[in-house]
Assembly symmetry: C2
Homo-oligomer: 209 residues x 2
């Protein structure tokens, strides 16, 4: 039951690097469907780009807050019944994986979403590194994508530029971390703002009845 | 209906300086009561102490995140139907007000809580400065406390040390911002973690049934 000036598309900003975006990625499509909406998964590079603009150090390395966030991710996973464990990886990043995502999204947004979910499981459920291009190639192959095509694409200037542009657009839209949702120009940051998103989708106003 | 190893007291860490702690202060006692619990309001100095330990700049001054948080506080206030507006004050702080709080808490925790609520309204509903000692004296007088006694107390070394010790204990308990609740050693940061707190108070476990 939509009203005229509301959007049916929820922009879901994510980075495969982020444990909280992984957790939210397990729920966002269901939340959207419950309100007759669809999602548009948009790539962000939180570690590489956004934190630098904000002048912040990585959250997980922040005194006091880092240990809290680890604990919080683990209990949210238990409440939501999502397979999750902290990997012990160091120096890993999601750059190649996110390039592969934008390339796949150009071809088929649903296929790209399945790829992102596979990469999320790989990192946050199975604890496997996603940094080497071979990780993206393997998950793409499982989805019927030619891994050689993927290798060519993610090393092309076009795809590098496309991801960069996407991240710049996200920042332009006020995105400073993930998960981050925008619908009707209302921004929602973090797993723990999904209830506020659901409130908005239900009422489409912040005023009490 | 308590189980043997659960606590009936929710530690509620607050700083009058914080808009989000103000918002949560309007709900925490009701949430506690609904679960047969009481609250212990514990003072923190977020701006003065905690942010320095974390090496973070004030959140409201953080690019991208600052504007988001302002908007978020305003919409949470509307959903919760709490009187709220951003004051335009600069260079204000809650040091004297929080010293007055710990002094009053020694005498009467309930009276101290009423004082904190009055100071919160003063700053976050009426937009009046809370920095000068006269602000604390006026709100104390309204509660039947001798303002001269308050003036002597908050300038005493004992009370300064007591607040400092309280803040150090909070940090020792992992508190890195406000609002922050702890019950059964489970930490909850932020207004938007109150649903997780309620989940805990209801189930006292993170496992699904």
């Amino acid at each position: 039951m939509s009203t005229p000036n509301t959007s049916e598309t929820i922009a879901f900003y994510f980075d495969i690097f982020s444990p909280f975006a992984y957790l939210a990625s397990n729920r966002i499509d269901e939340i959207a469907a419950q309100h007759g909406c669809r999602t548009d998964w948009r790539p962000v590079l939180v570690g590489v780009t956004v934190m630098k603009i904000m002048g912040m150090k990585p959250l997980m390395d922040t005194p006091l807050k880092g240990p809290y966030l680890r604990r919080d991710a683990e209990r949210i996973a238990r409440v939501w019944n999502v397979p999750f464990r902290f990997h012990g990886l160091k120096g890993h990043n999601s750059l190649t994986a996110m390039r592969a995502y934008v390339w796949l999204k150009q071809r088929d947004p649903d296929l790209a979403k399945r790829f992102a979910k596979a990469m999320y499981r790989r990192l946050w459920a199975d604890g496997l590194d996603i940094t080497p291009i071979e990780a993206s190639m393997e998950e793409a192959r499982n989805l019927g994508v030619d891994p050689g095509d993927l290798r060519s694409a993610v090393t092309s200037d076009d795809i590098k530029r496309l991801l960069q542009t996407s991240v710049e657009q996200a920042i332009g839209n006020g995105v400073f971390g993930v998960p981050f949702c925008i619908v009707d120009n209302e921004p929602f940051f973090g797993c723990d703002h999904l209830p506020m998103l659901e409130h908005w989708l239900t009422h489409r106003t912040w005023d009490s009845a």
